[in-house]
Symmetry: C2
Subunit: 356 residues, 2 copies
């Protein structure tokens, strides 16, 4: 708070010292061990940890301080300590980097990006599978909304004597469609003309813009145009919904003890809107990790979220995220999320159809 202290070294180091170098080491040991074992960690288990090397009694007295300052808690007297959200936060911020992937996982990632092909949606979808496999937690990938995309093409295709399809291609490669009913069988003849008419007047506009009716040429064409504009209008809603992909929800059942928790977290994941705003929110606050109550979603208070942005050619594209228990393996998870987010960005910038 008052960095006028002349003894202050580098920022990070200063933070470490704000907690006491040894205390930090003890906190790290507790967090690491708890992540591994999921059981309260006692002083004697920490005493021999690298960077500590003091007696358990000393550890104990330090732990009292850590508890007083809110980094640790005891489930009950005469039990070991468990990190609090604050404890995890300090661990993530000061005690560990993003970590490095193991060779197996490196290979998994490499192989994935070698093999994957197809449209963006497919890639994103599969990426969630990759991420959840790498981390054993549930993965979320959010693609961009098509809000700002402009219309590249409008086409009318007849499906049956009385039905036609309005197909719109957007500048970002998305395709939207709507079925429209035809007044009568004769209308089919005018589909091409109406399509061309729409195309001529709408290309370059955005889908959100009110479906301004362009001038007309003939009566039946006009009818088709009107119907199509209605369809176009109804696309507006779908279009600003971001694309969300969830992978490995089953992993949640492994991550949590309580069935109740599993249920509530699964319920959240079903509400894509919530998921999107959660990730966006965390990213906007400049975070890559949100622990416990930090993200403000009550039902997810026993979860941690790890997020990384995906940028394509410097443009904000979307985000990849991971949902696990607060006692997740942060280094590994952060590594996985960052790597996948980055490579996903590269992949989407490069060839759209990787030459097999």
């Amino acid at each position: 708070m008052t960095p006028a202290d002349p003894a202050t070294r580098a920022d990070a180091s200063a933070d470490d010292r704000a907690l006491g170098e040894r205390r930090a080491a003890i906190l790290e040991a507790v967090v690491s061990q708890y992540i591994g074992s999921a059981e309260p960690v006692g002083s004697s288990h920490v005493a021999n940890a690298p960077g500590v090397q003091v007696s358990s009694a000393t550890v104990r007295s330090e732990m009292v301080a850590l508890e007083r300052d809110g980094y640790l808690v005891q489930p009950h007297t005469s039990a070991g300590r468990i990190p609090t959200d604050k404890g995890y936060r300090f661990f993530v911020d000061h005690l560990t980097g993003p970590g490095v992937l193991g060779p197996v996982q490196r290979r998994q990632v490499a192989q994935f990006f070698d093999q994957v092909h197809g449209e963006i949606e497919t890639v994103l979808e599969r990426a969630t599978g990759l991420l959840s496999e790498l981390t054993t937690y549930a993965a979320v990938v959010v693609g961009p909304s098509h809000e700002t995309a402009t219309i590249r093409s409008v086409q009318l295709v007849g499906l049956s004597p009385l039905h036609a399809l309005v197909v719109v291609v957007l500048s970002d490669g998305a395709v939207e469609k709507r079925t429209i009913d035809l007044e009568n069988e004769a209308a089919g003849e005018y589909l091409a003309a109406a399509g061309a008419h729409l195309d001529a007047h709408l290309v370059g506009r955005t889908l959100k813009g009110p479906g301004t009716a362009p001038p007309s040429s003939s009566r039946p064409v006009d009818d088709l145009v009107t119907a199509s504009l209605g369809a176009l209008d109804s696309m507006g809603g779908d279009i600003d919904a971001d694309q969300v992909f969830v992978g490995g929800p089953a992993r949640l059942a492994e991550s949590f003890e309580a069935v109740e928790t599993v249920r509530s977290v699964l319920t959240i994941l079903e509400q894509q809107l919530v998921v999107v705003s959660l990730l966006r929110d965390v990213l906007n606050r400049g975070l890559s990790v949100a622990i416990g109550t930090e993200h403000g979603f009550e039902p997810l208070s026993s979860c941690a979220v790890v997020v990384a942005p995906v940028t394509v050619d410097g443009q904000d594209f979307g985000a990849v995220g991971l949902l696990g228990p607060t006692r997740m393996d942060y280094p590994r998870t952060m590594a996985a999320v960052h790597v996948v987010g980055e490579r996903l960005g590269e992949r989407l910038a490069g060839g759209h159809d990787g030459g097999h």
Copy 2:
């Protein structure tokens, strides 16, 4: 097996009598109560059930017979009885009809089909939500594969100087797309020509047919055509994957006690291919309910599946299904599945864009 017995009456009744009328009533009572309470049912709880009205001692001796014949089991001596899969099967086949929806649920269904609009995919997706809400179990809806659909239109749309999109509209209203790379910026000028060329030669064909190269007109057009045909080819794979929608997976966490079960069932649901073949398989065997091990999927042995076909204008369209514990409320579930399956068929046959 040998229906030569002169005393045999109508078929169903014969089946009942094969078990003994009273025994059937007792079995029904046990199943009903167990569905409600999830606890083993004792003889005294059955004694007063309508259609039984005998002393608990009598019920006990009947229960012994039911257990001998494999309809019931005891978790342990001195406990009540639980239905076996065979017991549920008998219950479903002979002791209960599809049941009737409650007024609230009727209204829910009516309201849903009033409000729902948009493309087929959207409707199917939302239908899973409806079903899972009606039943409190997980719902699955399988749409048709586009295998047999023919091409209605092919179009090339430029996205950027070096990328274009191949957009294919199929006769069933599905739209597929693929991004292709352009050799050089000049190629963009020929997109329209190449698109028209492709359209002219491919309309009416199926996507699965090998992308036969039609004759050519100019060199750059030819290049585009070749690239597009490659893209078309790669669509073949996606096209015969059925569309699967899953709703309310979180309900599974409520349905089962053991976390392990939840996990394994969720895992199954993630594998869409398995889900599809499961439903198809059950339907093909002419069943509407598969209980426990009847469907042969080991990990789902504690589940029951309720399926109903969806037909549009008499054509096989897909299926709606429901996944719950073997001790599910069969009457209600079957009612819900049937109603939704039926109305879904009507809905898809009728106006594609229900007036508001």
